[in-house]
Symmetry: C2
């Protein structure tokens, strides 16, 4: 284990913390309590201010074989940031510079400790648009990239991966890597950039990111489409996508779940009919264009027996609908023991939800489920009652098995972290995991970076 003294030589007196009471919030993340790992006792917190300092810390840690856990915004929900063995927590919070908004190349260059919120503001101020919005704006850019965050806006624009064009990262052995650039095409060797994206902090410490930006859309509209029947709602989705309309987001929620959120907020869910809802956000270059898209979507949904269609055009109305949707998790949070993140082929999410309901019934439990209907990503919420009955693991396994049967995966956007590793035996492909472990050894021969995270 490295001595704090040596770290102080690198970052200065003030940026090495050894007192437990001054680092509490660095020892946990947003993983539900029921499955959160206990942090280890012996931790040194270090806060480098530059890529060069990160490099020196990792060289030292590698030489002394001291584990290093990377700390971004701490908004992850699969335990990847919790130091579970004695070592260093390296916080990127001082790497907080927005280096450049490059309007001519439609790119932004940011250090990894910048928050999503701060970056969005800089982009907005430049009159541009960064499409992904994975949720908590306190998340750090480095974490968003290390976890390839998703969110509701992936239907039209895809996940974070699609927007990363260049990275600077420090290898576990301390070398500074620069991959990509302000480039839209780059075939120069194996794509280490895409390998670092979603490496969950195990292959390098991301210190700088170049993102592609978009122009702002001129107009938007939010539709709430009500159905009596889940499958009619879900079956409308491919028809919408085939029609040429590509919404920014297509969310699916059910009355029981969405009303919990609305009630908690003291708001009213605007749809009075039906029990199954699509929330569709349309964007376009003009009001006309959005209107035409809305007409097209409405016609399709009516063919699939929608019982009501509400169109919100005013900013405030749209924001209210989104607010109720995005606070579903918060409204359930105190009762949640585990949030699953299964992803299936988009057309199969109705079937998948039926399976979740069947399992819930069999275990005499409620499993609130909602998700990103446009991209097949569902979040069944396993509640504390299942944990109390000791059934958490069993129910989770059954849901995972069903997702895999449908050609799905157990994590679409949240990542493996540490909490999902015990269930990877569901995927019998030993060679795939062997290759991943081999890649880890190439980058991190002493296994110092985020040990125990993301790999069997």
């Amino acid at each position: 284990m490295i001595k704090a003294e040596k770290l102080r030589e690198i970052v200065g007196e003030d940026w090495v913390i050894t007192k437990r009471e001054k680092m509490r919030r660095y020892l946990v993340d947003e993983t539900p309590l029921a499955i959160r790992r206990k942090p280890t006792d012996n931790v040194i917190l270090v806060k480098p201010a530059s890529t060069n300092e990160v490099s020196r810390i990792l060289k030292l840690a590698n030489r002394e074989k001291t584990p290093v856990f990377i700390r971004g915004g701490g908004t992850g929900i699969c335990g990847g940031a919790v130091p579970t063995v004695d070592g260093i927590v390296l916080s990127t919070e001082r790497l907080d510079k927005i280096e450049e908004v490059d309007r001519d190349n439609l790119m932004i260059v940011v250090e990894s400790g910048v928050t999503l919120g701060a970056m969005l503001k800089a982009v907005e101020d430049a009159g541009l648009f960064f499409p992904p919005h994975p949720g908590d704006e306190g998340a750090h850019i480095g974490g968003l990239v290390a976890c390839n965050a998703g969110g509701v806006r992936a239907v039209k624009y895809g996940v974070i991966r699609n927007f990363v064009k260049g990275l600077e990262a420090v290898a576990p052995t301390g070398e500074i890597l620069k991959v990509g650039g302000k480039l839209l095409k780059n075939n120069q060797g194996f794509d280490l950039m895409h390998l670092l994206i979603n490496s969950g902090g195990t292959l390098g410490v991301i210190t700088k990111v170049i993102f592609r930006l978009c122009s702002k859309f001129a107009s938007s509209g939010t539709l709430v489409i009500s159905y009596d029947n889940r499958h009619e709602a879900i079956d409308s989705v491919p028809k919408i996508l085939q029609s040429g309309v590509v919404p920014l987001a297509i969310e699916y929620v059910e009355r029981e779940v969405i009303e919990i959120s609305a009630n908690r907020l003291g708001m009213k869910w605007p749809a009075t009919k039906g029990r199954a809802y699509l929330i569709i956000i349309l964007t376009g270059d003009s009001e006309d264009e959005v209107y035409r898209q809305g007409e097209k979507v409405s016609a399709i949904c009516e063919r699939y027996h929608a019982v009501d269609i509400l169109i919100a055009e005013r900013k405030e109305e749209q924001a209210n609908i989104l607010k109720i949707r995005s606070e579903v998790y918060v409204s359930l949070k105190d009762r949640v023991a585990d949030v699953l993140d299964i992803t299936v082929p988009p057309a199969s999410i109705g079937v998948m939800m039926d399976k979740v309901d069947e399992i819930a019934q069999r275990f005499n439990a409620t499993i609130p489920t909602y998700g990103h209907a446009g991209d097949g990503n569902l979040h069944p919420h396993l509640l504390n009652d299942l944990a109390e009955k000791g059934k958490l693991r069993e129910v989770k396994r059954e849901i995972y098995q069903e997702a895999v049967k449908l050609g799905g995966v157990i994590t679409g956007e949240h990542g493996l972290g540490v909490i999902r590793l015990p269930d990877l035996d569901i995927y019998p492909d030993g060679k795939t995991w062997e290759l991943m472990r081999g890649i880890k050894s190439v980058f991190d021969p002493n296994n110092i970076l985020s040990p125990g995270v993301g790999l069997l």
Copy 2:
């Protein structure tokens, strides 16, 4: 070296070829003659019909440490398919099934030996759209993915990488790998899929691909915008992209080059004014929408002193413009000694072209250059006169150096292959190449797959 006999046991008598005269076309690709490598003397050509046969061949080759070169459509132009050491050429041509066009999930599942042309037809027949069009429709799907092909339509939709959602591949050691699926979100471990994309046939034999498809656009229009001055043309491009219009393609050509192609085809380049041209393809959900985009683009280009703007709406007119553009390479081909593939930040392509002109002047040569203005990818064509003067390498190095100074790379879409390896010393980042070589060893411990390709 494996005995042909053993290969016959796997694929049957008819599918192992040892006679040189029956395999000539499998020993070359489309790399210009001046820089094409000589194929080796001792080659066995094998044509497996299934993933399982590919797996058995690779297990055998790995055991006997026999090099294997993968053969797709042979349309590559950087020498990656030419067997340069004694071994096997494994052709994927019998893996030619289009397994499924899945309209509900907007996905297509194809074997890797399907040609781009055949796949585009199947997609078209299903009333859907596959955006990337990297050129030669004889290219095989496996090669397109292994080389992460680009092309003119990358402005709106990005390169092949963005459309790959799942892969089946056989590791050099013979195991069958399945990564991804009909999934729009997938964070299950390191992204081996993105690592296989652009691995140039060095990490595995791709046997099956799942691509995301799009809905068809209802309407399109092609603009030819004429300028007297290169920089005014180039400087319009970021303004167009900032305006909210995202064209399918933005190409840049100059009169001297485009007229060579038009003359060869016996056609007439429609623009009579100016010498620098943007070709912009607009697509939209309706004629109105395309018209509105056209108005917006025209207004911007006029501000940048466009001297003429032609709008082609009829299919035939649009096709003619594209035909002349896409045959530029063919019209120069006999004179071409090397096609470069530099990519710089999009806003820098005007400066980059000036640098190419300066170098051309200094070497008293003509270097026809044109490229994808929307994505910063330029193809300077070094002609035979430079090769004859023994100046090919020197000129290439100078152009590469200038691209790197602008934050660019030496290959945006064609790949490293073998022809670009001698120039990678321009990138001093030894650690990056060390990591790539380490990854190669993890996948291919005996270095049997495409040895000498893509890696220093």
